[in-house]
């Protein structure tokens, strides 16, 4: 295949979404359910065992218990989400604490341009700090008004809806500012370092 010429598949007509085409990034299809994907078994984390730590490199900046964290200002965010396995789901309603409000409570400005999100199960994913602030991302505690179920990342998951959904780390327990852009779990295993669905940055080195 050369240039932008598309190879038409003999006999394939496909199914067009009835509406909202412009909201579906290239290569994605609309999903009405909410599929579950993860690298390992679902951890069951009790809120009494839950904590969230903000770090600069190895140095902790602040740590919150569940009670402290859930007392932070809560924001509603309803967004389309895009999974790299090719499904897109419209209008998913979340509630949680904006990363801006976490930083404000810790009394810090972002110290570096890069962030690693960490999870209870050892998962990690990297996101540029600018993609987490100015209302772009939150640590979500509620989905459809109810506590997030364990299989969808509860009690708390990162929500970075403008990037492929593996960046929205399930079972999140901390954000760590890093000096360099350090690849996380899937980024070390063939997935894109940034993951913009509108540019189809699915796998390593996709433009």
């Amino acid at each position: 295949m050369k240039g932008n010429a598309k190879m038409v598949t003999r006999g394939f007509s496909g199914r067009r979404p009835p509406a909202g085409d412009a909201r579906i990034p290239p290569g994605q299809h609309l999903e009405h359910g909410f599929p579950v994907l993860s690298a390992g078994p679902t951890p069951r984390i009790r809120t009494e065992d839950w904590s969230f730590t903000l770090k600069h490199g190895p140095r902790p900046i602040k740590k919150w218990s569940w009670a402290e964290f859930s007392a932070l200002p809560m924001t509603k965010m309803t967004r389309d989400i895009h999974c790299v396995t090719s499904w897109t789901k419209f209008d998913t309603p979340w509630q949680g604490v904006l990363v801006d409000d976490i930083l404000a409570d810790a009394g810090v400005e972002p110290p570096t341009a890069f962030t690693l999100a960490h999870s209870f199960d050892g998962y990690s994913t990297n996101v540029p700090t600018k993609d987490l602030v100015v209302g772009k991302a939150m640590v979500a505690l509620l989905y459809e008004g109810k506590p997030i179920t364990a299989d969808h990342g509860g009690p708390a998951r990162l929500l970075v809806p403008h990037l492929y959904f593996w960046k929205s780390a399930k079972w999140v327990n901390g954000l760590q500012f890093t000096e360099r852009d350090e690849p996380g779990f899937w980024e070390l295993r063939g997935y894109h370092i940034y993951g913009d669905p509108w540019r189809e940055q699915r796998y390593t080195n996709d433009p």
């Binding site: 038409v8 006999g11 290569g27 999903e31 078994p41 679902t42």
Partner: protein, 248 residues
Amino acid sequence: MSEPTAPQSPWQTATIARILRRTPRVVSFFLQPLQPFAYRAGQHIDVKLTAPDGYEARRSYSIASAPEAGEQVEVAIERLDDGEVSPFFHDVAAVGDEIEVRGPLGGHFVWPEGDQGPILLVGGGSGVVPLASMARHRAALSSKVPVVLVYSARTWDEVVFRDELIELDRRGDGFSLALALTREGARRPADHSRRIDLAMVAQSIAYFPSPPGVAFVCGSNAFVTAASQAMIDAGVPARIIRTERYGV
């Protein structure tokens, strides 16, 4: 914990070289890529179909063949009646057709390099596909690493790769197959006629000379959730369990 980063795998054309029905709902497609590629057991490819108006659909399919099997890549596709892509493969695709593929992809649900101890494989339905690649890979290598495949299907006739897996089990070289049929009685002494549960996992890992070093679970989300819980309850550490899920 890091593994080699998958290389960039650009889209390319592959020709359907052979089509083989495996079960009433699962058909294997042997794809000959224009640029053959090496892969690891457990990896997948992405497939892209394009309509005349440029509309594209893509899906990920696990590779069923062993890396040693040659240039043709086998994918085993289950027909989902309300699906967009699998009915195309089942009803329309023919030998000689060209489709676009990209691969290999995935760097986590893969057969481990080096000796990490016995390996537990747990599959439900078409979730057996990447595990079959691993079983075939083990056989191709004449590996002696102890492996148990616990494989749940509704009926005997819906067991994908059934005769081949039973044949691998019969070799008695450390690969063991236990079928868990959920809608029929068991036919072999090693098989069960119920869903995968704690007792079944416990019985399977008791076969190992030492505790499993890695476990792979693949199937629907409900299957993987239930099976990995049974594994954890049977004493398999959560940190050694790698999962691959599909569906809602």
